[in-house]
């Protein structure tokens, strides 16, 4: 059997006294969409950052396709095929939207031999079109609305042609209509996206999100994090019925979710 796709083993991150991530172990296979939920301060964002090397873990290992990538440089990890997006959008504010995505198209992973500026621009447009913001291509990112910036984040990430996409609150601050739209295109991307090494199948995804009802509609499996530890794992239906999860996180909202 081939090595598992993404394996996180006993990952810990301590900030002084605070144990942001405390021995998290899980795995993601290459054809999955996984939701990562948990109360505030549970360490979801930190966990994402540990995987992408933006933060260095205190202990534990991360393996991607059998290769140990723990604590490597972010750019290196991205070029191996893991693309992150950020919870707080961080575009290059003074660059036009198209140039924002062009930067990703210029990374070693996405770069093709003999590519020149025109073709790179076309590929950037392609990614923008997929996310539905191609009409904004020439506007500087600073005048683009928050919802579109969220989509720009995704466009920037998929332009690196990832095999695994780590999305940090992609629905954060989107209107219900926009949320649905983004949810749909993520699903589409996953099923047969054009933005992956293998053109037949899209990237695997890990999605951190607070909007449970929208998340549950699109993911195959959910991991619940609380105080840095994984307290439950399973299909959406299983998780919302899990007693521990309800206590720690979901609260009374459960009735509305199940129905």
């Amino acid at each position: 059997m081939a090595a598992p796709f993404l394996e996180v083993e006993n990952l810990c991150k301590h900030f002084g006294e605070l144990r942001a991530v405390d021995g998290a172990s899980f795995h993601v296979s290459h054809d999955e969409m996984v939701g990562l939920i948990g109360p505030n301060g549970a360490g979801k964002t930190t966990l994402m950052r540990l995987i992408t090397g933006i933060l260095k873990p205190t202990s534990g290992t991360v393996r991607f396709k059998g290769e140990d990538i723990t604590g490597q440089d972010t750019a290196k990890i991205v070029n191996k095929g893991i693309a992150p997006t950020f919870q707080v959008v961080k575009p290059f504010r003074h660059l036009p939207v198209a140039a924002n995505v062009m930067v990703s198209c210029l990374c070693p992973r996405a770069k093709r031999r003999g590519d020149w500026v025109k073709t790179v621009e076309l590929r950037a447009r392609d990614a923008l079109e997929f996310c539905g913001i191609a009409d904004l291509a020439l506007e500087p990112a600073s005048v683009v609305s928050h919802g579109d910036l969220k989509r720009l984040e995704v466009a920037r990430a998929i332009a690196t042609e990832p095999e695994l996409l780590l999305l940090d609150e992609p629905f954060g601050g989107l209107s219900p209509a926009e949320t649905e739209l983004v949810g749909k295109f993520l699903r589409r991307l996953h099923r047969g996206g054009r933005f992956g090494r293998l053109h037949s199948e899209g990237p695997a995804m890990v999605i951190v999100e607070h909007k449970l009802s929208d998340l549950m509609k699109i993911v195959d499996r959910v991991i619940v994090l609380s105080f840095g530890q994984i307290i439950a794992e399973g299909t959406p239906d299983e998780v919302v019925r899990n007693k521990e999860v309800i206590e720690a996180y979901i609260g009374k909202e459960v009735s509305s979710l199940v129905s």
Binding site: G41, V143, G173, S175, A177, E178, E253
Partner: protein
């Protein structure tokens, strides 16, 4: 009317953020302002608090400083549109900003004291401090902790407490629930309700429509810089098109 806004228009460079918004808040009312992100909720509160004008003044001469601000804001019968932000605060119109934003390298107590800057009477400051501690006993426990190390919920409590220290007459709360877990959210809204019941006037923006409608007596719905609906929760929910297009319910 206590707070009266007429035809408020804000343009950032060429991007229209608010387009002729008019709204009112009566004394002792709890008014909520709902709408998707990017609708202009935060900008509206910032404009009322004088921060848009401040931004315009400080960024003067850069591209980001090309801000147009038109319309009028009246508070308690007085025109406050062109007052600097710290003067507006002195009149009792306080903004509690998005995502908490405490002074993160200062202790909790120093944060609260900074909130009481406008008040020179030490006795009053002390009374206010007692009131805040009574409402949020958690803050008293953490009095000497550096506020950057607080959790998300505590941070927001601290910012509400800090705003209360400046003796607000009208309290503007910007998106209290952003990034908070459902459980913390419930707790927080219970506190907001408590503050309201103690006799404050509150204008709150919120994305989570269900919570906002639960609390507020009157609501405004804003989308793309326009007000598109106004009324009690029942009225708004009864309007089919409004519910579908703007509230997503």
């Amino acid at each position: 009317m206590y707070l009266e806004i007429k035809d408020l228009t804000v343009l950032y460079d060429r991007a229209m953020v608010l387009n002729g918004v008019s709204l009112t808040v009566g004394k002792g009312e709890f008014v909520s302002l709902v709408g998707p992100n990017g609708a202009g909720k935060t900008t509206l509160l910032r404009a009322i608090a004088g921060l848009v004008k401040w931004e315009k003044d400080t960024l003067k001469g850069t591209r980001a400083g090309r801000i147009t601000l038109e319309g009028s804001v009246k508070f308690d019968g007085e025109e406050v549109t062109n007052l600097p932000a710290h003067e507006i605060v002195r009149r009792g119109l306080i903004l509690c900003p998005e995502r908490g934003r405490p002074f993160r390298e200062m202790t909790v107590l120093d944060n609260l004291r900074a909130g009481a800057f406008g008040c020179k009477d030490k006795k009053v400051v002390k009374e206010n401090l007692e009131r805040v501690y009574h409402l949020f006993p958690r803050l008293k426990e953490r009095e000497n902790q550096i506020s950057g190390t607080l959790s998300g919920g505590e941070r927001f409590m601290l910012t509400i407490g800090r705003a209360m220290m400046s003796q607000p007459k009208l309290f503007m709360i910007d998106e209290p629930s952003v990034g908070l877990a459902p459980k913390v959210k419930e707790d927080l809204f219970a506190r907001v309700k408590e503050i309201y019941e103690q006799g404050s006037t509150i204008l709150m923006t919120e994305q989570d429509v269900s919570f906002a409608f639960d609390l507020a007596g009157r609501n405004y719905v804003i989308s793309k810089g326009h007000l598109v609906g106004e009324g009690t929760a029942e009225d708004l929910l009864a309007d089919e098109s409004l519910r579908k297009t703007y509230l997503g319910l």
